[in-house]
């Protein structure tokens, strides 16, 4: 500073520099830390706890100086935290929505009072946070707490929720989970990354000023292993993780088989297309990309895609705008190596660089750099390294631009720039991402859902949609906690099917050979094997194909061909198709009831009741086709935003034993009415009603390939579904082992899982399926969609 204070007016008059702002001293935040002797413990049971002899981690500021230390939880800390959270949950969930809303509103005003302290501490720990945004989030979810009893009467909180957030995430992303969880009546255990720990602990303390019951909100800190250890505590009912893909995958694998529902939000490493069309306001687009891509703490990795006809003018503006930008600090020295390697690679592949200055010889600093002339196969475009690097790709037509944007395993967000409204809306619709910003980027509001696609996550945060991950319908049982068995994941469901050996004969009954239904055609299993279908008494009812991997592959291929067309059909046309399915079921009512009776041994009267209910259930879904819609939430900013449910794509369903027909049509209806294609695996025990339903499917005007039915052994087919990357979601009813296998296998590539353990649920005699509660149908259709939000800001 001595050098800069000695500058005379004349020096500055000539150089016209802005002058350095003296960095904030963060006096208020430091005063708070001093009260805690710069060594922070956990927050549980409504107070700070600082046990001795724990491993410590140091939190550093941007200059590398020590801010404070946090401690690493041992298993006994986690277990006492679990019990206090469990007690907290009891008190909290019994409060009325109104009382919970009051607490959250008090938090909003408390936050206003301590704005300075919170934002200083966030800055100090290098996790900047916009306090006004946090306050708005709090007020927004206070509103949902208030309305819960009225608008979501049949939904109950899940229990104790663990929110695990890694260091690369923003401080805001913790509260995007915690606030809705609390609003809905859950208790929350937060496991923040080391850098996020101090501000999280501060906020936990502020919550105590709002009369939140003790135990409802706890903070446990430590290294990356704490998340998995918290998950193993059996007081927890749900875990949600935000952070990087690698850590998320590890966590999902570690928690497989613990009977814990978990969701991942992997937005940090997501690669997002920033598409500039020729019809764009190029200057604004270039300003936008410079602002988005060269921030110190980026929310996403941007990849710039520019239409060829305006490539030169974009590049010349980038060159002008990039000069004078300062070097950006990197996360660590090791990031610098990654950046250097990526740039070298790109140069070797013939890329050219646009840089504000040449990079310093060493150190965790790098100048903003655009890598021009890359092609999609190059590693910098496929998985951009951290730091201020921006790969630039070009495309010829708008359709190619969309294809380029979709050619990534991620699906978090996209920014598109064009003055052409039709092009903007068409592109927004075609991009496989959760958020689309038209002529803007990185705008967020609590009222709009953020929902990652593909490898970017399998949960929906924000908006009303973000509440459902913390709720379950009261008639729906929770996944029971269990301990994992030592499962050989590679061997699960791989025992080959055997050919049948003739054993004796029974001339009194001639059994028929049934087919499965793949891509609209009746066919045998690809392997040629079949298995017997037996009545409860052991009598052989039929022979059905023993399907496997190749049958699933064929069904997926057929589904992929037909699903986009099914989705493009108007919702009213989809409704008509489902009504026809329902009508044809009615026509074959007697045969279906007989089939249920033969298979399950129920009385004809009860079987008929199931068919009756199934007909009405299908009509329900037909009616819902054109009723479930998104909306245009009111926003504080000017402009319009849309949130809309979209189909997942291809859904694999492993059906339960209970109510074999009713469960089939309920799940089929949910998936198909929302525009998905579905591959049904009938119950291994009771496949006959599903096999007979094939004729109803054939007779109806549901396009061939939208629904496939593959019979066979459950584990084999589950394994086949899990190992097909085009299948976006698996709904599973089956064994604990199957659940464990799916949780482990479907963490990469990521799928949306909806798991049910029949061993525990099976005893209710299928009441779940015959229940008329609207929340059950709501749960089903919400499982069948992903949410897309589109921002169109206007002046």
């Amino acid at each position: 500073m001595a050098n800069s204070t000695s500058k005379t007016v004349y020096d500055i008059f000539q150089s016209m520099e802005y002058g350095a702002y003296s960095p904030s001293t963060a006096a208020t935040a430091r005063a708070w830390l001093e009260r805690h002797s710069y060594s922070l413990g956990f927050f549980m049971d409504g107070k700070f706890v600082c046990p001795v002899d724990r491993q410590t981690h140091t939190v550093t500021d941007s200059t590398g100086g020590t801010v404070c230390s946090v401690i690493c939880a041992k298993d006994e800390d986690i277990s006492s935290c679990g019990s206090s959270a469990s007690a907290g949950f009891k008190t909290w969930s019994e409060l009325s929505g109104h009382r919970r809303a009051k607490v959250l509103l008090r938090l909003a005003s408390t936050l206003q009072r301590y704005t300075q302290c919170v934002s200083e501490l966030c800055d100090l720990c290098q996790s900047p946070c916009s306090l006004p945004a946090l306050i708005r989030l709090t007020q927004y979810y206070a509103g949902w707490a208030q309305l819960q009893d009225t608008l979501m009467p049949e939904w109950i909180p899940r229990g104790v929720v663990a929110v695990v957030v890694s260091d690369d995430c923003s401080f805001h992303s913790i509260w995007l989970k915690v606030l809705p969880a609390l609003a809905m009546g859950n208790a929350v255990i937060m496991v923040p990354g080391v850098k996020l720990a101090p501000p999280t602990l501060l906020l936990a303390q502020l919550f105590m000023e709002t009369a939140l019951p003790a135990g409802v909100l706890s903070v446990v800190t430590g290294d990356t292993s704490v998340g998995a250890r918290v998950a193993k505590n059996n007081q927890i009912s749900y875990l949600t993780y935000s952070g990087s893909q690698q850590d998320g995958e590890v966590l999902a694998k570690q928690t497989a088989g613990w009977g814990l529902t978990i969701s991942l939000c992997l937005s940090v490493s997501a690669e997002c297309p920033f598409i500039i069309f020729e019809s764009a306001d190029i200057d604004s687009a270039v300003d936008g990309v410079i602002e988005a891509a060269f921030k110190k703490k980026k929310d996403w990795q941007w990849v710039l895609c520019v239409q060829e006809s305006v490539l030169d003018s974009v590049v010349s503006r980038l060159k002008l705008r990039i000069t004078g930008l300062k070097c950006v600090p990197l996360g660590s020295e090791s990031d610098r190596t990654l950046v250097d390697v990526a740039v070298q690679d790109a140069l070797q592949q013939g890329a050219t660089l646009i840089q504000s200055c040449s990079p310093p010889a060493s150190g965790a600093l790098y100048p903003p750099t655009v890598l021009c002339g890359l092609a999609p196969p190059s590693s910098a475009a496929v998985s951009p390294p951290p730091g201020p690097l921006l790969p630039l790709l070009s495309f010829r037509s708008a359709a190619e631009g969309v294809a380029l944007g979709n050619r990534t395993p991620h699906g978090q967000a996209a920014s598109i720039w064009t003055e052409d409204l039709n092009l903007a809306l068409e592109t927004a619709k075609s991009l496989c991402v959760g958020s689309v910003w038209v002529n803007s980027h990185s705008v967020m509001d609590p009222s709009l859902p953020q929902c990652g696609r593909r490898d970017s996550g399998n949960c929906t945060d924000g908006g009303k949609e973000g509440l459902y991950q913390f709720l379950r319908p009261s008639p729906s049982p929770a996944l029971p906690r269990s301990t994992p068995t030592s499962l050989d994941y590679a061997a699960f469901g791989t025992t080959a099917s055997g050919f049948m050996v003739p054993e004796g004969f029974d001339p009194s009954s001639v059994t028929c050979s049934c087919s499965q239904y793949v891509g609209g055609k009746l066919c045998k299993a690809d392997s040629g094997c079949s298995r017997t279908v037996q009545a409860p008494g052991g009598a052989v009812l039929a022979h059905c194909p023993d399907g496997g991997r190749k049958d699933v592959r064929n069904a997926v291929e057929a589904a992929l061909k037909v699903q986009p067309g099914w989705l493009r059909k108007s919702p009213a046309a989809r409704a008509l198709s489902l009504y026809s399915l329902s009508d044809h079921l009615e026509k074959r009512r007697r045969e279906m009831a007989a089939s249920i009776q033969a298979q399950t041994g129920l009385s004809m009267e009860e079987a008929d009741k199931e068919v009756e209910l199934s007909i009405s259930r299908l009509s329900d879904w037909a009616a819902r086709c054109d009723k479930q819609s998104g909306g245009m939430p009111p926003l504080p900013q000017t402009g319009s935003a849309l949130s809309a449910p979209e189909a997942l794509g291809v859904v694999g369903v492993v059906l339960p034993d209970a109510k074999p027909l009713l469960s089939l049509v309920s799940l089929l209806g949910a998936a198909v009415s929302m525009g998905n294609a579905v591959i049904l695996v009938p119950s291994e025990k009771y496949p006959l009603p599903a096999i007979d339903f094939i004729q109803v499917l054939q007779a109806s005007d549901i396009p061939a390939g939208v629904v496939s039915v593959i019979t066979g052994r459950r584990n084999q087919l589950t394994q086949a579904l899990a190992n097909h990357s085009e299948i976006q979601a698996i709904w599973y009813w089956g064994s604990l082992e199957g659940c464990q296998f799916l949780q482990h296998t479907c963490s990469s590539p990521l799928k949306r899982l909806w798991l049910h353990c029949e061993e525990v649920e099976g005893n209710d005699g299928g009441k779940y399926w015959s229940h008329s509660s609207p929340s059950l149908q709501e749960e089903m259709w919400r499982e069948a969609v992903v949410w897309k939000s589109v921002w169109i800001p206007t002046a």
């Binding site: 007016v9 016209m16 002058g19 306001d281 604004s284 002529n439 803007s440």
Partner: protein, 317 residues
């Protein structure tokens, strides 16, 4: 009569212009967030602003005496003792120009000559502010102002042509003003408050530059909407676009409603952010203002003395 239609590709360039209003507004807000450090940085930036001011009086009641006073203020815009304490008294701190109506040009030239100053006199012309007089008299007005000794001419464009999209005709008119200006610098006033959309502002900027303007200027100060930051973003982007295509640097002059020292600093920051340091000199940047100088002088007084000046402590313009 000149009738060089701009080359076909130039008109195509104009027709392809796209401006996204909300993105411009957002950028303008960002630019307003650029902060200059306190103390000597503020003082230096304010003095820079002083050297870019076109000190202006455009009133019906202008007479030789107030024009004379204005000229003297232009020569010595900040009290000598204040400048001396910053060691800036010998750095040639004067305003960039004095700007008056055509009929007062002769008075201003005379006053400045008497004070031995080389500050140029600028004159508004071409039926200022509405531009609704016949082309013949508008051209004649320019020639007379130049004859009287004006070194810079601020012309106003014909809004009728711009609003009806007759860009070739507008080009022709501005071209003729350019001829009439001769050696004098030409600043073209777009009267952005009357152009309707940002896209029109961008197009009018391009056409004016193609026709040979040395500066493009936001407004006359007589419209209801004057120099705003968003509209300036649009105009300086046009300047950047023109520079990228032709290599020629055209200046920018916001005018109308700029009254406080704080605003002057934002204007400089906007130029620095969008066009770079080169545009932070009177060759390429002017601030059209009358009361702004008084506020800047008060701020400098505060920097030097640590006190806020009473109005009577600073000489009137």
């Amino acid at each position: 009569i000149l009738s060089n239609c701009p080359a076909l590709h130039n008109l195509e360039w104009v027709s392809k212009v796209r401006v996204n209003t909300q993105a411009v507004l957002k950028r303008a807000q960002q630019v307003q967030g650029c902060k200059v450090a306190k103390k000597q940085w503020q003082a230096a930036w304010l003095l820079k602003a002083v050297t870019c001011i076109d000190l202006t009086t455009l009133s019906g009641d202008d007479t030789p005496s107030n024009v004379h006073r204005l000229c003297m203020k232009a020569v010595q815009p900040v009290r000598h003792d204040l400048l001396k304490s910053m060691d800036m008294h010998d750095k040639g701190i004067t305003t960039a120009a004095v700007c008056v109506y055509p009929s007062r040009v002769a008075d201003a030239v005379k006053s400045l000559k008497a004070a031995n100053s080389s500050i140029p006199v600028a004159s508004v012309a071409t039926g200022f502010p509405a531009g609704q007089t016949p082309l013949k008299t508008r051209l004649e007005e320019v020639r007379m102002a130049v004859e009287d000794g004006a070194m810079e001419i601020d012309i106003v464009i014909n809004r009728t042509l711009a609003l009806t999209g007759q860009w070739a005709a507008l080009y022709d008119e501005v071209r003729q003003f350019r001829e009439a200006c001769g050696h004098a610098h030409m600043k073209t006033i777009l009267a952005v408050g009357e152009l309707g959309t940002f896209t029109n502002v961008y197009k009018a900027s391009l056409v004016s530059m193609m026709a040979g303007s040395d500066f493009i200027k936001t407004s006359t100060g007589k419209e209801s909407v004057n120099a705003t930051y968003p509209v300036a973003i649009v105009m300086v982007r046009a300047i950047r676009d023109y520079y990228l295509r032709t290599g020629q640097k055209v200046g920018f002059k916001p005018a109308g409603g700029i009254r406080t020292a704080q605003e002057a600093v934002v204007w400089l920051a906007l130029m620095k952010e969008e066009l770079g340091n080169e545009w932070l000199s009177p060759h390429l940047f002017r601030l059209g203002a009358s009361s702004l100088l008084a506020d800047i002088e008060r701020q400098i007084y505060h920097y030097v003395t640590g006190r806020y000046a009473a109005y009577h402590e600073l000489p009137m313009a």
